[in-house]
Structure formats: structure tokens, C-alpha cells
């Protein structure tokens, strides 16, 4: 498959850019933060109206079925203006789990609701500070026609606003396989503690104390969720890379503009070779990032055998480059880059947070090595 966008995808990107620049510029994030809000329900409604919330959901369940390359274009534009929304966690990652594992009834009720933006569902998987999807101690014990869930989850994305969680747990006697359960945020025994991150996004730490759910809360079969979780995490990693690509590119372009305006010693600072070479190097890295993101998302759309390898490649490469981009941005802006009044710091904070989501550089470069047999 050619590594280019088709006409439909280019149109989607253009309309996404226009919408997000108008309805959620970086100044909107600043206003939200100053007001004490972490997200904007109005923006979310707008995204739903644009169809973004259903972009990766099959048409038969009320989505646009535009694929993950399309989802990537949208989230990349969100990255450029640092627009906060549960698109990634709910519309892309949680929706893929429901589409892969859900019963017809679960799909028919939940997917159209996600596609319409009416319901927000998020995956509650990790239990550690760093991303580590294999260390799951939360248990689900069968009791008659119910399951009882005990355990805790940390840094659940959009956990503060989600209506439901997809909780990953282990059950005895199932080869320690992973099971997924849909749990209402209001269910008895669910304790939610939200925490504000540096990027002004709210994550949640969850505690489940003898939470009893009925058998129809089970997503798929007991102990057999691993494969779908793997796919959902690949989707999360590749789309997180797409968002970070937007963050990194915007930070770079703003820096480039500054280098062409700012004068010191009587000349434009952009004429200094020390800065030119660093900017040129960063340009090259960003070009590589564009290739890896597109390739990884195409691999997800086509479900190729190297999907996981390419998702890890994409997240590792972009996370490393985004860090370089925001670090260079603040350094080249100089003192003004250190001020809160100036927007570039928002990019640094978002870059750091988005890098952790669905695994950072170290996690994914190690996984890349593992998948390559070393």
C-alpha cells in the first residue's frame, strides 16, 4: 500500500484542521486551565457532530468506518492545538475492544452510544506508575451468575469523566488469562480518585472493593481477552504517536517562526549555524515520524502480521522526537520559553504526558527488540 494519503483522507485532514483551529486553539486550553476545567463538553459535542467519535466504528453500529489512518489524522490535528478530549481512550481504544469482543447486544447498545459521543468508556488496565500491561493483579471471582472484582487501577485516562470502565482482571483457573468487564462508574464498591496532570488532564486512580457485576458485564470470554487487549494497545500506541506527531510538529513550526523574527547581536537568531543545524536535524526526525505513523496506522487498518512491531516503532520514534522537539523549542525560545505567559510550555507538558500514554520510548523500543527476536 502506498505511503500517501488518498483524496478522502486529505479532505478529512483539512476539515479536521479547520474545525480544531477554530473551536479549540491553544488559547482554549489556557482558558480551561485558568477556569479549573480539564475538558470541554462543548468541544466534545462538536467532535461528535463532525463524526470523529465514530470515525473508527463500523457503519452498522453508527460509525463512519473511516479506519485508523483517518482517526490518526484527526488526533494529529488535536495534537497541534493540544485539544483535550476522550477521543483516543473512548472512541478509538475502548470502542475497538467492544467491537472485537462484545456480544451482539453489547455492540448494538454501546458502539452507537460511543459513536454519538453520548457515552464515554475507558480502559482500566495498568496498575503501576509506569505503563506495564502485563502486571495485572486485579481479580474477578465467579460467584453464581455474577463476578466479584477486587483490585486497583492507576492513571486511567479520562477516568474522571468516563461513564463506564472496561476493567481488566484475572480469574483463577483460566491460565491466568485476562478478562474484561464493563463496570459503571456508579457501581457499588467503585472508588474514584482523580488526579490532575501537568498537561491539565485528569486521570483517575480506581479502587474496586468487592464490586459485583452480572455475567453480561463480561466482554468476550473469561481469560481470553489478551489478543483484543493487544490490538487495542497497538491502536492506542499508534494513535498516541499520531497525536504526539501533531504536538512535535507544531512546537517545531512555532520555533522556526521565532528563529525568523527574533533578533540578537543585530541579526536574526535563525542565521546562526548552531541553531540552523539543530533545526535541520529536527526536521529530518519529524519527516521520519510522519512515515512511521502512517505506516503503523495502515498496518492496523489492514491487520497485518507486523502490526505490533510497527505500532511500537511508531510510538518509540515519535516519543523520542517529540521530546527533542519540545526541548529544543524551549531552549531556542530562551527565557520567554520558560514563562507561563507563553504557549510553548504547554507543548512540553503535553508531550511528556502523551509520551507515557500507552507506553513510552523505553517501553516500546524494548518491545520492538523483543518482537524482533532479541
Amino acid at each position: 500500500m502506498a505511503l500517501v494519503l488518498n483524496e478522502e483522507q486529505q479532505m478529512l485532514r483539512d476539515s479536521a484542521k479547520t474545525f480544531i483551529q477554530e473551536s479549540s486553539p491553544v488559547s482554549a486550553l489556557r482558558e480551561q486551565r485558568d477556569r479549573g476545567d480539564e475538558w470541554s463538553p462543548e468541544l466534545w459535542a462538536g467532535m461528535a457532530e463532525m463524526g470523529w467519535t465514530g470515525i473508527a466504528i463500523p457503519e452498522e453500529f453508527g460509525g463512519l468506518e473511516f479506519g485508523y489512518v483517518g482517526a490518526g489524522l484527526v488526533i494529529e490535528e488535536c495534537g497541534r492545538t493540544l485539544a483535550a478530549s476522550p477521543l483516543l481512550s473512548s472512541s478509538f481504544v475502548a470502542a475497538s475492544l467492544i467491537a472485537d469482543l462484545g456480544s451482539s447486544e453489547q455492540k448494538e447498545t454501546l458502539l452507537p452510544a460511543i459513536a454519538g459521543g453520548e457515552v464515554i468508556i475507558t480502559l482500566a488496565l495498568g496498575e503501576t506508575g509506569r505503563f506495564d500491561p502485563d502486571t495485572i493483579a486485579t481479580t474477578a471471582v465467579a460467584a453464581g451468575d455474577k463476578f466479584v472484582i477486587d483490585g486497583s487501577k492507576s492513571h486511567v485516562l479520562d477516568g474522571g469523566i468516563a461513564n463506564r470502565f472496561i476493567v481488566a482482571a484475572r480469574s483463577k483457573g483460566d491460565n491466568n488469562g485476562l478478562s474484561l468487564f464493563l463496570v459503571d462508574r456508579d457501581a457499588k464498591g467503585v472508588h474514584i480518585e482523580t488526579s490532575l496532570n501537568a498537561d491539565n488532564r485528569l486521570v483517575a486512580n480506581l479502587r474496586f472493593e468487592s464490586v459485583s457485576v452480572s455475567a453480561d458485564a463480561l466482554l468476550g470470554e473469561v481469560g481470553l481477552a489478551q489478543e483484543a487487549v493487544q490490538r487495542a494497545l497497538d491502536i492506542g500506541a499508534a494513535l498516541s504517536a499520531a497525536e504526539l506527531l501533531g504536538v512535535a510538529q507544531e512546537a517545531f513550526e512555532r520555533t522556526l517562526e521565532y528563529l525568523k523574527e527574533r533578533k540578537q547581536f543585530g541579526v536574526l537568531v535563525g542565521s546562526f549555524q548552531a541553531l540552523q543545524h539543530r533545526a535541520a536535524q529536527l526536521f529530518c526526525e519529524l519527516e521520519l515520524c510522519k512515515s512511521v505513523v502512517l505506516k503503523a496506522l495502515q498496518a492496523i487498518d489492514q491487520d497485518t502480521a507486523d502490526r505490533s512491531l510497527l505500532a511500537s516503532m511508531a510510538k518509540a520514534k515519535v516519543a523520542k522526537t517529540a521530546k527533542l522537539s519540545v526541548n529544543e523549542a524551549v531552549q531556542m525560545f530562551g527565557g520567554i520559553g520558560m514563562t507561563d505567559e507563553f504557549d510553548i510550555g504547554f507543548f512540553m507538558k503535553r508531550s511528556a504526558a502523551a509520551s507515557q500514554e500507552y507506553g513510552d520510548y523505553y517501553y516500546h523500543s524494548d518491545r520492538f527488540a523483543h518482537l524482533n527476536g532479541y
Binding site: 502506498a2 500517501v4 535563525g270 518509540a316 524494548d366 527488540a369 532479541y374
Partner: protein, 391 residues
Amino acid sequence: MANLEEFREQTRAWLEENCPASMREPINSDKDQCWGGRNWVFASEEQRLWLERMAEKGWTAPQWPAEYGGGGLAREEAKVLQQEVARIRARRPLESFGIDMLGPALLKFASEEQKQRFIPEIIRGEIRWCQGYSEPNAGSDLASLQTRADDKGDHYLVSGSKVWTSYADKSDWIFCLVRTDFDVSKHQGISFLLFDMESPGVSINPIKLISGNSPFCETVFENVKVPKENLVGELNKGWDIAKYLLTHEREMIGGFGLSRAGTESLGQTAIKAIGASNGRLAEGGIRSAISEFEIDELAFALTIERVVDEAKAGQGTGAASSLLKLYGTELNKIRNELLMSVGGSDALTWGSEEKAEQVQRWLRSKGNSIEGGSSEIQLNIIAKRILGLPS
């Protein structure tokens, strides 16, 4: 795309039948690469046959026009051929500056007569070309070159010296930048000449490098007579040809950063050499470094693919050659550094031709980011031409 699939089947069958078994083995030493030319001694009968058969079909230059002996393939077909060649891990039948550098420039700038004369022998590997660009006082600042060609009526008289002329001692002809006007700005008085290295007045001194090898030479011209019909393009317009050719050279050198068909991945090499612990490469630090490298290597290969696909779709950014040259050569240096680390003290063996190859490749790779426009020159080009940063 039915035709393309048909082409793939035919190509696959043809390669199966015509590519000798030994030409599908990994390249282990320089002798495994065929450079052709008047004085070439084939390493084996299979090497000769493989070149002959591929040249016969024009597949040493798959996309060049069939009227000059090229393959005449469309871009899609050439990609299929490349994939099929890679599938059986076949070696390149001919390494050639004629194909990688001179040919594209001749196709664009040469007269019909010149094309008919020079291109078929490039495709068949009969004439080996070298490049007369750099001079002792014109390296990164190439356009300040001083080798002169004086108009003597029916011929030019060339005098001066070139340096870093790759394989000048093994080459038959040279494509050479000469100054034909000293009274105009430096870019405007340059012309592009072709001549036989056996011409009277040409002397060649190989330069011994840090690797112990002498792939580069200093080439001195003393009143070398060059027929006027050997001028390519217009007089004093040689810089345009030089720049065009440099973009091809950059892409070729940049390609050094890619894993070659028939070579195993660095991770595989390392796990064989170092061993595994719990299924992982035992040295954690080297493992991380190799992973970082292989991610970049794959990302770079995908970027080449994307650049080609975008150009085809008319979405190209255009200025990709500097990026490819810069990134490809830096990657090749990292690859060689890692191979030296993986090999440990064993990799340092000097003196024996077989064993010293890794250490020589490592030392040779240092030149990749100097030749063909240094990495710093590429960064300048990107900063100014692509990013529009001020002078």
C-alpha cells in the same frame, strides 16, 4: 493491476531460472560485488553470467529507456522487479557510478549522439566510470574548482588535479568538472567533460586511507587532449549538471544506511555473537542501542518509500535528497559502530584480508558523511532551502 501481477509472475520465473545460486548468497567481501569495465576480472563464471543476463534485459538500469538498452520499465514494474530480486536475495548484478550517477545526468543533458554512444555500455557494464569533482582546494566548496580546460579549436586541453576520485585507478573513463571561464562568478564558468583515463597526460596516485585500503585517488591532468564532442550540455553550464548528478549521488550514498538484500539484521547478528539470556540479547545496553538503531533504520526505509510514493502522487516536498544523504550516512556509521561493539576485541583484527573486513568497513563508513557533500553541508541545505532560515 492484472498486468502487474502477470509481470511479477514472469519476473519471478525468469529470476528463478537465470539467477545463479551463488549470486543469491550474502555478500561477504568486496570481491562479491561486480563493478565491470574494460579491466574487470570476474570473481566467478556465475558473476559474469548474472551480469550478462541482467544487462541483456536492461535490468541493470530497469527504468532507463529501452532504446538505449535500458529495461524500459514503469516505476511500478521496477518496484516489482526490486521486490522479486530481494525475495530471492539476489545480489546486484552491477555496482556502477555510470548507473547511479552519470547515466541519469546523460539522459537529461546529453546530446542524442552522446546518449547512443555512452548509455548502452554503461548498462552492459563495459565501461567503468569515475567522478572528477573534488580538488585539493575545493572540497565542501566544490564550485571553487580550478582544473582548467582551454579551448584549442577542435579540442580542449585539460590541466589540474582532482582528489578523492573513487576507484580512479580501476576506471576507464571520467566525468569531470572543469573551469572553462575564469572571469565570471564561480558557479558560472564550469563545464562538464567526459574523457578516457588512458589519454596521455593522466596520472593516478591511489591514496592510502585509515582503513588501509586505497579506494580513492589523486588524479593529475597535464595537458590532456579532450575532443570537443565530449562536452555534455552547454559550455559554462556544467554546474547545473553537477548539481543534478549530486542529488543522485546523495541518494546512492544515503542508500548505504539501508540493510542490503542478503544481510541479516543487526539484532540477529548480535544475538549470535553475544548470546541470549531468557530469550533476550544478553547485553542490555547493546540491546537498547540496537533497538534504537533498527527503529531509525526502518523509519528511514519507510521515509524513502514515502518520498517515492508522494512524488508519484504529485505530493512531493521535492528536497528529499539532502535528508536521505544526511540520515542514510549517519545511520551507516551507527550500524558500523554497533557492529564493532558487538564484535568486541575480535572486530579489531588487522592485517588479514578476511578478518580485517569489519574494521575496514567501520573506518570506511566515516567517509560517508564527508563525501558527496558532508553532513554539515546537507544541514545547511535543509536549513536554508527547505526551512527558509536566513543567511
